[in-house]
């Protein structure tokens, strides 16, 4: 009964990017329902991602971001659902000439759920919770640029860096501001967000109620209950029977037919950042050859693959960068589907009769199906694919850590993760000095425009190098009953802001 995606929730494979901030597309689902909603209605949200504990520095998983980011805890900045980085708990900030010192002025009148006022000391301890030695936060590495945090007075925080970092505001949007008196927060919470944690029953549900003393706009609903499912079918049934109002991300296209043509439900497609790709081990022959990689990319009809797996949903991409990253450009024409030229290029590269390789394929959806499709496509240009099914754990140890593989399939879920191509030690071993330099330098620039320009250039180079075979971008699908509106669609970084959600009677 356990579907394979559940065994290893794909977002647990989040690998992290360091790059900086700004602008994307898309917004909130707004239907005609905005009028006439019930401000006391409790919104029931179905999710497959139960947090493992309530502390995002203690390996709580993506579920905690979904439930708590922006709802129970807030940061100095917020990454909005449209991808902008905006100030949240600060009134403003100054950057020194050398871009090494940031001075933040905290917002007045902000208090924690326990009643304590927000002070600079809380911010300092919150940043240190993430950077602490025993912290398991995925953001720890990106905040390593922080040299010190000082608190000249209660409302001022000074952060000193050891090297300029254009991404600091973006990275700070991941740091929860926690009351410094809160102690262990693995089973309770004390944040500044619009909701307080009411109760969490492990394996079942997590309830939040509006915080009376919230500094900002009061929520449009009377509370939220996240109901956790271990099985996607059980979750769909709960939506069908009205036990939940929304499911946060649909993992399989099969389920959509239940909802798509039914007026009782709304199916919304947001911008996803999850990329399905075939990663070659670029260190070893024949995959160290750009010609071979380009040939293979041209041999595969991605459009056919995407439609076989997701029907009308999902997007084709010509590179690793999704449309919601600022450095996106449409590169689907580079190495577009063209089996004839694929054969020619293989011959030019010295493989007129093709070759064979082993494709390490994670055992959960959609990888095995994708592997078979690739096997068929590549056979047409004389390349034999040997499919080797492995578990997610094996993938970590064999492919990710030991880098002992020829090619593998994987989904990469983060936005702004082009930086992986700037790290020659990353599992796929892509090593182009120009890209390494562009990505490294883009962090030290003084403007977002300069950063965007450099990363756009890097993006084009990896596409021309066919560094990996980027197959498609997953759709990000939220399904709700039709009397619920104004929920976030994109779910960037697994966030799910619930404060604006409205439910009509």
């Amino acid at each position: 009964m356990l579907s394979k995606t559940d065994v290893f929730p794909r977002r647990s494979l989040r690998l992290h990017s360091t790059v900086a901030a700004l602008t994307f597309v898309s917004a909130f689902a707004s239907t005609a329902m905005a009028e006439g909603f019930n401000p006391t209605a409790v919104i029931n949200i179905g999710s497959l991602y139960e947090p493992q504990n309530l502390d995002n520095t203690a390996g709580a998983g993506q579920g905690i971001n979904e439930a708590f980011n922006g709802n129970v805890y807030e940061g100095l900045f917020v990454l909005t659902d449209s991808g902008d980085v905006e100030p949240k708990l600060i009134d403003g900030y100054d950057i020194s000439e050398d871009r090494l010192t940031y001075t933040f002025t905290l917002k007045e009148g902000v208090s924690f759920h326990s009643g304590d006022p927000l002070t600079a000391a809380d911010v300092k301890s919150s940043i240190e919770r993430v950077t602490a030695e025993n912290s398991a936060s995925s953001r720890k590495r990106t905040l390593a640029v922080i040299e010190s945090v000082e608190t000249p007075d209660d409302k001022t925080v000074v952060i000193r860096l050891n090297t300029p970092s254009i991404s600091l505001p973006y990275n700070l949007s991941y740091v929860w501001i926690v009351n410094d008196d809160a102690g262990d927060i693995s089973a309770r919470a004390d944040g500044t967000g619009p909701y307080t944690l009411q109760e969490w029953r492990r394996g079942s549900a997590l309830a939040m109620v509006p915080f009376e003393g919230y500094w900002g706009d009061a929520p449009s609903n009377g509370g939220v209950m996240f109901q956790y499912f271990t099985d996607a079918t059980a979750q769909n049934n709960a939506l069908l029977t009205g036990a939940v109002d929304i499911i946060t991300s649909v993992q399989s296209p099969d389920a959509l037919s239940l909802f798509a043509d039914n007026p009782d439900f709304t199916v919304s497609e947001g911008a996803s950042t999850t990329k399905e790709l075939l990663a070659y081990n670029d260190r070893i022959a024949p995959f160290d050859s750009v010609k071979v990689r380009s040939a293979l990319a041209r041999a595969v009809d991605n459009k056919k693959l995407l439609s076989a797996i997701w029907g009308d949903y999902g997007t084709l991409i010509g590179s690793f960068v999704p449309p919601t990253d600022p450095w996106f450009v449409d590169l689907t024409d580079v190495n577009a589907y063209d089996p004839d030229s694929a054969k020619e290029m293989l011959a030019e590269a010295g493989y007129p009769d093709g070759f064979s390789f082993t494709l390490d394929t994670p055992d959960y959806d959609p990888h095995p199906v994708v592997a078979q499709f690739l096997q068929n496509e590549l056979a047409k240009v004389g390349v034999e694919v040997k499919i080797n099914i492995i578990t997610a754990n094996e993938w970590y140890t064999k492919v990710y850590k030991a880098q002992d593989f020829e090619a593998t399939l994987q989904e990469h879920v983060n936005h702004r993760d082009i930086v992986f191509y700037g790290n020659p030690n990353f599992y796929w071993g892509y090593d182009n000095p120009e890209v390494v330099k562009l990505i490294a330098d883009s962090e030290g620039v003084s403007s977002i425009d300069a950063q965007t320009e450099m990363l756009t250039k890097a993006n084009k180079i990896i596409a021309e190098d066919a560094a990996s075979m980027w197959l498609y971008l997953y759709p990000q699908i939220v399904v709700s009953t039709s009397n619920v509106s104004d929920y976030p669609l994109n779910g960037l970084n697994a966030q799910f802001f619930v404060s604006n959600i409205k439910k009509a009677d």
Binding site: N53, A136, R201, S204, A205, Y396
Partner: protein, 318 residues
């Protein structure tokens, strides 16, 4: 009887000890050090060493085994790697779902299986007696998860009578919803369980029906039903009870599947989650507690058999 109880208790303790050894060995046979699971993928060698020291996995096996036994005796099952919470607390919370689920299913299965099993035996020459045997044969072949899905489809999705899954946030403090969310899971387990129980009850009854003592009772003037009630049930119950112990254990383990189908926060889902997350303390804790419960069930079933059957008490054979 007392001597037997003591002997049986010694056997119980010995089995527990053996089971503990098997669990210990099995968990250590798994590839990889639990310390790796504790600190995660990106850990430095220093962090792994620190985790090993914390878990004691750097100690010699003998020392680890002594500590392991001591912890079990003291009911210290450690803290989960992922939630950091006490495993024993979590298990007791989860048992509050799994035990009622198992026991209610068991009772319901008995309520179905005993009367229908007897009926199937007594009326084995009638069409409905035959039908009952056929139904129970078919019922044995039904996979639990499939039946669960069918019940959800009919009673939740079509009729909208019952929730399709989940358990209320406040648990039994929300009694109406808690009971509602238990109905389909209980039906699922008990229907499948009653099918196989019915076969045993039917077989035991048939044997009793052909027995000399029943004929003698009839000869002494008791009615057919009276003789069956007074002598038949008690005699027929003895072999059934030995099966019941096993069935109850099976139901407990079958809860793993049913909890998954219905998203119930019980022991079964805890075990599955623990395995997915390589949460060694949770896996070990669930296995220890389940083993204990299964062995205790066998122990109680044996005692009950002795109470019902004087021949066993006198050291005789059935």
């Amino acid at each position: 009887m007392l001597a037997y109880m003591i002997r049986r208790l010694v056997i119980l303790l010995l089995s527990l000890f053996l089971a503990a050894i098997v669990l210990f060995v099995l968990l250590r046979l798994l590839p990889g050090d639990p310390a790796n699971a504790l600190v995660g993928v990106g850990a430095t060698p220093e962090q792994i060493a620190a985790a090993q020291a914390q878990l004691g996995s750097d100690q010699p096996l003998a020392a680890q085994f002594v500590k392991y036994l001591r912890d079990i005796v003291q009911l210290d099952l450690g803290n989960s790697f992922v939630s950091r919470a006490s495993v024993l607390d979590e298990i007791s919370r989860r048992l509050s779902v799994t035990l009622p689920l198992t026991l209610a299913s068991f009772v319901l299965a008995l309520l179905i299986a005993v009367p229908f099993g007897i009926l199937a035996a007594v009326k084995s020459d009638r069409w409905y007696g035959l039908l009952l045997s056929v139904v129970s044969q078919v019922g044995i072949a039904v996979p639990v998860f499939w039946l669960g899905i069918l019940l959800v489809y009919e009673f939740s999705l079509n009729l909208r009578w019952l929730p399709s899954g989940g358990f209320p946030l406040r648990g039994y403090a929300d009694p109406a919803r808690a009971v509602q969310s238990m109905i389909l899971p209980v039906l699922t387990i008990s229907i499948v369980m009653s099918a196989s129980l019915m076969r045993y009850v039917r077989a035991a009854t048939l044997e009793v029906l052909g027995s000399d003592f029943l004929r003698t009772a009839r000869a002494l003037g008791e009615s057919h039903t009276g003789a069956l009630m007074r002598h038949g049930i008690r005699n027929g119950a003895v072999p059934v009870i030995s099966v019941l112990g096993i069935e109850l254990s099976t139901a407990f383990l079958g809860a793993v599947v049913v909890e998954q189908v219905f998203s119930l926060p019980g022991m079964g889902s805890m075990l599955l989650l623990g395995i997915q997350q390589r949460d060694y303390p949770s896996i070990q804790g669930v296995l220890i507690v389940s083993t204990l419960l299964v062995l205790m069930t066998g122990f109680l079933a044996d005692l009950l058999q002795r109470v019902l059957d004087p021949r066993l008490r006198q050291g005789g054979k059935q």
